[in-house]
């Protein structure tokens, strides 16, 4: 099944390029427990791939493997064609990461936080450029110079997006980035993702939000107990279909 999908997708999206994110029979075991088994996954430039599934299905494990924060038990995670295990630092230049809660340094302002994370990513941007990026990410101009200890979750997520934009990475890893956001903030977030997709960024997003996945995602994959049980293109299904398929996969197997 996975092979068929891998062949079908580039043709469908019209992107015949090499995938930016690729998992080849990627597995991770903790003792007896199989956190992830034999994952086959490809995310191409301009795609938003949404990983659905309950907690413990292996979504975060997948993201951790791409970030090199854990080592695979077997198989390979590739970023821009490079093995994450052997090219840990190099692969990160192609990655941006936004966690469920973007954590920032409370004592620094939003601008200073952006400046710091961008500098660590090896980019030197002027203050004006950084402000404009914060603006693109939707942060109000007057918030940039306030310490982030007073920021709301939505504002912090925007700084997180700004960090990702400033890095100009080819791939974006998102771990439930909209959970806890109000619908308006969540919608703004999706708009930003669309913008990034249009620039050719490959996005891998773990989420519980079926609606958002259908709306924003180009493809969805449903995970259960460490396995990717099905994969589909969002263009081919409706909202109701997705929910039905999701629930089906939670019940059987």
């Amino acid at each position: 099944m996975t092979q068929a999908v891998a062949e079908a997708v580039p043709a469908a999206s019209g992107l015949a390029k090499q995938p930016v994110l690729e998992a080849r029979s990627l597995s991770k075991r903790y003792g007896d427990q199989e956190a992830l088994s034999e994952l086959e996954l490809r995310v191409h430039p301009g795609e938003i791939y949404c990983l659905l599934g309950p907690n413990g299905a292996g979504k975060t494990t997948t993201i951790n493997l791409f970030l090199g924060f854990i080592e695979p038990t077997s198989g390979t995670a590739l970023v821009a064609g490079l093995d994450v295990t052997t090219h840990g630092i190099e692969t990160k230049t192609h990655l941006a990461y936004i966690p469920e809660q973007v954590m920032l340094y409370r004592n620094l302002t939003g601008l200073e936080n952006l400046e710091y994370f961008t500098a660590l990513a090896g980019k030197r941007l002027g203050s004006d450029e950084l402000r404009s990026i914060l603006g693109q990410a939707g942060l109000q101009a007057d918030a940039a110079d306030r310490r982030v200890s007073g920021y709301s979750k939505g504002m912090r997520q925007k700084v997180g997006i700004a960090i990702a934009i400033a890095k100009e990475a080819g791939a974006l890893l998102l771990d439930e980035p909209t959970s806890g956001l109000d619908p308006k903030a969540s919608n703004e977030f999706s708009t930003l993702l669309d913008g990034l997709r249009d620039r050719g960024v490959a996005v891998l997003m773990a989420t519980h939000d079926l609606f958002r996945a259908k709306e924003t995602g180009t493809r969805v994959g449903i995970m259960r107990q460490g396995r990717l049980s099905t994969e589909m293109s969002t263009a081919e299904i409706g909202h109701a279909d997705l929910e039905r398929i999701y629930l089906e996969h939670m019940h059987d197997a």
Binding site: I70, K92, Y97, M103, Y105, Y116, A119, L120, A121, I163
Partner: protein, 469 residues
């Protein structure tokens, strides 16, 4: 990259209220202790100069008397306060700084503030060395315990590492940032200390090198604590655990290890009590020991009579008392050399035990080096004590010789200030830097091991710090 991380750490720390309060408290204590130390040393020096002049004056103006009586009258010698002793009083409060030099006896040092102090006061003296050895490490722990653990707990560590920064750079940057924040507190104190050193002493030049080495020693010590704190912070499951573990290390290093060192060194190399020591000397003086025999007055007399070809002591061209007194002096000196030599050796072996235990607690190495460079350790006390003893022997001998050469046996003879003034003052030259460092090679090596080991531990810890959770 490293400097960028360091800069952020630095500004982050400066905006942290806890750091500001801590810095003010520790900084204040450091300045006060340096100031108090400096005033204390300045006053002690003034007192010492006055006392030295008075002692000399008493010696010169003791009037006409028998030279041997003059030797009994004696003179006080004072251990000079070296320029750096304001940083570290070392063993001075316990060993004393002045000694009475007189015929027949090698006296113990006097002016021991510890003698009059209660046990509680031992911990109460605020010295710059105390602040540097105990409070600054505490400050480092408070600055660094969360360096990696808090970032991991708060989730910023994942984001940091996702930027592509290497763990090694991150650790180095953190260390540098903490060092810079610490520098804000310590560097002004060091500058002030150097200024005090230059202003407070006419021979400051020779002490600047010592000051520089002392600074390096403390930097290495602080570096070891920074590395250790980062290593623990990287490996501890939470910031709270890191803090508790580090405070445990701080207590072991600062309170438990010194206590163990004292007990263990006393057990391994027991020193006699003052009472036992005095009694042994008394006994050996009475009977002689191990081939050191009390002078045989009769044999000396007969040898002299024969040498000069006379039958009666009154006919000798020399005063027999001068000769026999000197002979018994030489005998006494041998007994003293034997006992004091063994005692000093015991103290030095004890201090070697302290230095070795520094493998478990870097404080012990720093303390040994700090006292050494300040000129207040046991070895330099011995160095001065030997110089004072040599001076005493020369003085007593010159008195006895004057008596022997310038009078005849049985004659009443008085010398005057011409003789007293002919005795040169005690010119004591403190040991060189090379001598001190030669004495403290073990501590230098152990401290170096700590600094390097802590740096390696920090980098290794960061490499293995868990970010997946």
């Amino acid at each position: 990259m490293i400097t960028r991380i360091a800069r952020k750490e630095f500004s982050d720390l400066l905006r942290d209220g806890r750091f500001r309060i801590g810095a003010v408290v520790v900084g204040l204590l450091l300045f006060v202790s340096l100031g108090a130390g400096w005033v204390h040393v300045r006053d002690a020096r003034a007192q010492l100069e006055a006392a030295q002049a008075t002692a000399r004056d008493h010696w010169d103006s003791q009037g006409e008397k028998n030279p041997h009586s003059a030797a009994h009258y004696g003179i006080y010698a004072f251990k000079p306060r070296l320029a750096l002793s304001f940083v570290d009083q070392g063993v001075d409060p316990w060993t004393g700084t002045s000694v009475w030099l007189e015929a027949h006896r090698q006296n113990d040092f006097l002016m021991r503030p510890a003698q009059d102090a209660t046990t509680a006061q031992r911990f109460g003296t605020l010295t710059a060395a105390g602040v540097l050895q105990h409070l600054v490490p505490l400050m480092i722990i408070l600055l660094a315990f969360g360096a990696l653990a808090s970032e991991r707990e708060q989730g910023t560590l994942r984001q940091l590492l996702a930027t592509g920064v290497s763990r090694r750079e991150l650790t180095a940057g953190k260390a540098l940032g903490i060092a810079a924040a610490l520098g804000l507190l310590v560097v002004p104190a060091a500058v002030l200390g150097s200024a005090a050193l230059v202003l407070g002493s006419n021979a400051a030049g020779s002490f600047l090198a010592r000051g520089v080495v002392l600074a390096i020693v403390y930097i290495a010590y602080f570096g070891a604590f920074v590395g250790l704190s980062l290593a623990v912070s990287a490996r501890a499951p939470s910031a709270r655990t890191a803090l508790v573990a580090l405070l445990g290390i701080w207590v072991l290093n600062g309170l438990v290890a010194p206590r163990i060192a004292v007990d263990l060194s006393a057990r391994l190399h027991p020193a006699p009590t003052a009472f036992e020591f005095a009694r042994t000397i008394e006994e050996e003086m009475a009977t002689g020991v191990d081939g050191i025999e009390p002078p045989d007055r009769e044999a000396i007399t007969n040898a002299l009579l024969e040498e000069h070809g006379v039958d009666r002591v009154e006919d000798l061209p020399v005063n027999l008392s001068g000769i026999t007194l000197q002979a018994s002096e030489v005998f006494g000196d041998k007994i003293y050399d034997r006992n004091y030599g063994a005692l000093w050796d015991t103290f030095e072996r004890q201090s070697r035990v302290h230095e070795t235990l520094a493998l478990a607690a870097p404080l012990l190495a720093v303390r040994a080096l700090s006292m050494g460079l300040a000129g207040t350790d046991v070895e330099q006390h011995r160095h001065f004590a030997s110089a004072a003893e040599t001076y005493r022997r020369d003085l007593v001998r010159s008195m006895n010789e004057d008596l022997a050469q310038n009078s005849r046996t049985g004659e009443t003879y008085f010398a005057d200030e011409e003789l007293w003034e002919s005795v040169p003052p005690l010119e004591y030259e403190a040991p060189s830097l090379a001598w001190i460092l030669g004495n403290r090679t073990l501590s230098l090596i152990v401290l170096g091991l700590w600094a390097v080991g802590a740096a390696i531990a920090a980098v290794r810890g960061a490499r293995r710090t868990e970010v997946a959770g």
